[in-house]
């Protein structure tokens, strides 16, 4: 579903991703861990088409499409979803209207009929339960004045409504209390099907107790220096990254 080969990306002439390779197949959950500043968010942004990054080499294909050639909204309509590390506030724009617009863009793209307000509201009510979100957040402007945890839940609600094929969650667990963490993880698990895939960026093994990954990758200085199964996450939790860095330097 997602195939990244030798991806090299720089920002303002500064190389950030330095030859990154990653293969994600349908039905899989991949966790990406790694020290601060190693390039995890950069990867998520480049994959979803944010401006300001220069691709120096390599390729990224999604469902066989050349991802890097596509406008960000087309990637989204093709089923790519990014849960932002820092969700953006859009003052005055009603959360429900925003979500309805987003969903209808995706549906239009797929040749499906747009949902009217009534159908949409019943859908959203259902998905709200999934993330146990307070209803009044729907009536408020997008993310405006939301607490950190509320913003993250709102991201997951959007994911639940848009039902993406490939979802990238950038530190969705940061800033969540234990209950919220469980709820968000539960949401992901319920959305999981053999047809979709998740890339979960996190610093904490804790989340992986709830969402069990098929693979764990360590991103360091713009490269994946180690891949393994969920046991790797435990090891990282215990030993940190230093031993890995030393190992990779020896190689």
């Amino acid at each position: 579903m997602l195939s990244i080969k030798n991806l090299q990306v720089s920002v303002d002439e500064k190389p950030i991703l330095k030859g990154l390779n990653l293969e994600v197949k349908a039905g899989e959950i991949h966790a990406i861990m790694g020290p601060n500043g190693s390039g995890k968010s950069t990867l998520a942004h480049v994959l979803s088409g944010r401006e300001g990054y220069r691709v120096d080499a390599g390729s990224a294909h999604y469902k066989g499409l050349d991802l890097l050639e596509m406008a960000p909204e087309i990637r989204a309509r093709e089923g790519m979803f990014l849960a932002f590390q820092y969700p953006i506030e859009i003052p005055g724009v009603n959360n429900t209207s925003f979500l309805k617009k987003a969903l209808n863009e995706v549906r239009k793209h797929r040749g499906e009929e747009e949902l009217d307000a009534i159908d949409f509201l019943s859908l959203i009510k259902k998905q709200m339960n999934l993330v146990e979100m307070k209803e009044d957040l729907l009536k408020r402007p997008v993310n405006q004045g939301f607490s950190g945890g509320e913003k993250k839940r709102n991201e997951i609600l959007q994911m639940a409504v848009l039902n993406p094929t490939l979802a990238i969650l950038d530190e969705t667990d940061s800033g969540l209390d234990i209950d919220a963490l469980r709820i968000v993880a539960g949401g992901v698990n319920k959305l999981r099907t053999p047809e979709n895939a998740f890339v979960i960026i996190t610093h904490y093994q804790r989340l992986l107790d709830y969402i069990v990954p098929d693979f764990v990758h360590v991103l360091s200085d713009g490269q994946i220096i180690k891949s393994g199964t969920k046991e790797l996450a435990y090891e990282l939790e215990e030993r940190g990254y230093d031993w890995l860095l030393e190992d990779s330097e020896k190689v």
Partner: protein, 497 residues
């Protein structure tokens, strides 16, 4: 709930791919004026230019009583002595007032019902998305449509008549209700007021007249669509709305214009009068041709709008959404004469390309315990200039006057300008006046966030702008709010890369 959704979504499905370069929010529109077509209705025009004879001819043509002819002539003579004002923030080529036609009207006689309306005109309204018959049926809006200078369609007259409400072309009011016109015309905007208002007083062609009798709540939104049509015809509408004691009326004014390559002058005057306990809500959506992307052509819009809260506890509220015109010069104002009277001004002014807008309000506090509220949202894109100019004046005798002003500017790109000039003249120490101002930019983060949810850049900007201006849109009647947002989106098309 559906209404709320309608407000925020737009069925504009253009997918504009992001340009390779990083100037997401810079490029300039290539969008042609969507409503740029000309209605093919025969026009009857007087010779070009202006003298006493033309003024007399206009008055005679309209079979006006003597007092009107005299009033017009006084205005004309006063105008001859005036110089066109020069405004610091507006730049434009001078208008040649001798090269304009001062009167134009469709040749055919005014019809009595929609069936008699020129099918061409109905088709025009259709193209504008304003089908009269639908409005009539669905929205319960009484429409007094003005094409150029003479009203050609009036509906719901009977229903309003039963309540004693008068809603008709002002030319008709002058003939049939001369006592009302004589009593109120020029009492809020005297013919000596300013260059454009003086010119209007001399040559005004038509417009609307509304009178709401004491204690009557007008059961529907009154609406009038103006449209500049005859080439080189200065437009001089005159509107007079009187809300008698304890009455209420909401009036909507909206317009679009066909494309023209020569500047067209528009100098309208609107006078509102609210007596004791009366309330007038006046809403405008203005989308006249703004000129092409090089800044050529477009309407010059010099409008004088003023409301007089004559009675105690009266209230006048202006709401405007300004997206069109090459130049807009407009300060809907309130004179708060009655004790405890209230004035409100809600404005969204959007400029793009080379448009210039100098707009704002004046709140003149004369009575005791008077209150005013100003919410102004400027949006500048392209190379445009958007100026807010507001005056809050509290007279010596206006005890306990209160004003709150919020003037925000939103910039799209970095080649446009936003300017705010709040003037205060406070002569009474008991006044409480608060002013807040912010300037913000549409951020790339916001656009990317919406892109990542499948929303095109153009729609994203539309959403962000609508969100920013929400406080004002909320003041508009529902149907109008939808229309206003659509017009804004049209105006912003292509303003981002």
């Amino acid at each position: 709930m559906i209404k709320e959704n309608n407000k925020m979504t737009r069925d504009n499905d253009k997918n504009i791919a992001m340009s390779d370069d990083q100037q997401t929010i810079q490029n300039i529109t290539d969008q042609d004026y969507k409503y740029g077509f000309v209605t093919d209705i025969e026009m009857e025009a007087f010779p070009k230019g202006l003298d006493e004879n033309i003024v007399r001819m206009i008055s005679a043509k309209k079979k006006e009583p003597e007092f009107m002819t005299e009033w017009r002539l006084k205005a004309y003579r006063h105008w001859r002595k005036q110089k066109e004002p020069k405004w610091p923030k507006l730049k434009y080529s001078e208008v040649d007032y001798e090269d304009l036609y001062y009167y134009a009207a469709p040749k055919k006689e005014a019809p009595k019902s929609l069936d008699e309306v020129d099918p061409e005109l109905l088709a025009t309204f259709e193209k504008l998305g304003v089908p009269l018959e639908e409005r009539e049926l669905l929205a319960g809006v009484a429409v007094d449509a003005v094409i150029d200078s003479v009203s050609v369609a009036t509906t719901f007259k009977g229903k309003l008549g039963e309540l004693g409400i008068i809603f008709c072309p002002i030319s008709e009011a002058i003939q049939e209700h001369p006592e009302l016109v004589k009593k109120y015309l020029g009492t809020v905007v005297p013919y000596t007021d300013n260059f454009y208002a003086t010119l209007n007083s001399a040559v005004f062609s038509d417009g609307s007249f509304v009178y709401i009798p004491p204690g009557v709540r007008c059961p529907m939104e009154l609406s009038s669509y103006f449209r500049i049509n005859a080439s080189k015809t200065g437009q001089f509408e005159r509107t007079l709305i009187v809300a008698d004691k304890g009455s209420y009326v909401s009036y909507l004014e909206g317009c679009t214009a066909p494309m023209r390559d020569e500047n067209q002058l528009h100098a309208a005057v609107v006078e509102l009068i609210a007596l004791d306990d009366a309330e007038i809500k006046y809403s405008t959506v203005q989308n006249w041709y703004a000129g092409n992307k090089e800044g050529v052509g477009g309407i010059f819009n010099f409008v004088t709008k003023r409301g007089l809260c004559a009675g105690n506890n009266s209230k006048i509220s202006w709401t405007q959404v300004e997206t069109g015109s090459a130049i807009t010069w407009k300060y809907p104002s309130c004179v708060l004469k009655g004790d405890k009277s209230v004035g409100e001004f809600y404005s969204v002014a959007l400029t793009n390309n080379y448009q210039q807008a100098d707009t704002g309000t004046k709140m003149i506090h004369l009575g005791k315990n008077t209150r005013s509220l100003i919410i102004s949202k400027g949006i500048s894109a392209g190379k445009s200039n958007n100026t807010y100019r507001g005056l809050v004046k509290v007279n010596k005798k206006a005890e306990n006057a209160r004003n709150y002003s919020q003037c925000d500017s939103l910039l799209i790109g970095d080649q446009c300008g936003a300017h705010t000039y709040p003037y205060l003249e406070i002569e009474n120490p008991s006044a409480q006046v608060e002013h807040e101002a912010t300037t913000s930019k549409v951020s790339e983060d916001q656009i990317f966030y919406l892109n990542q949810r499948g929303i095109s850049t153009e729609d994203a900007v539309g959403m962000i702008v609508s969100g920013y201006a929400r406080e004002v849109f909320q003041q508009l009647p529902m149907e109008f709010a939808v229309e206003a947002q659509a017009l804004m989106s049209v105006s912003l098309e292509g303003s981002v890369g």
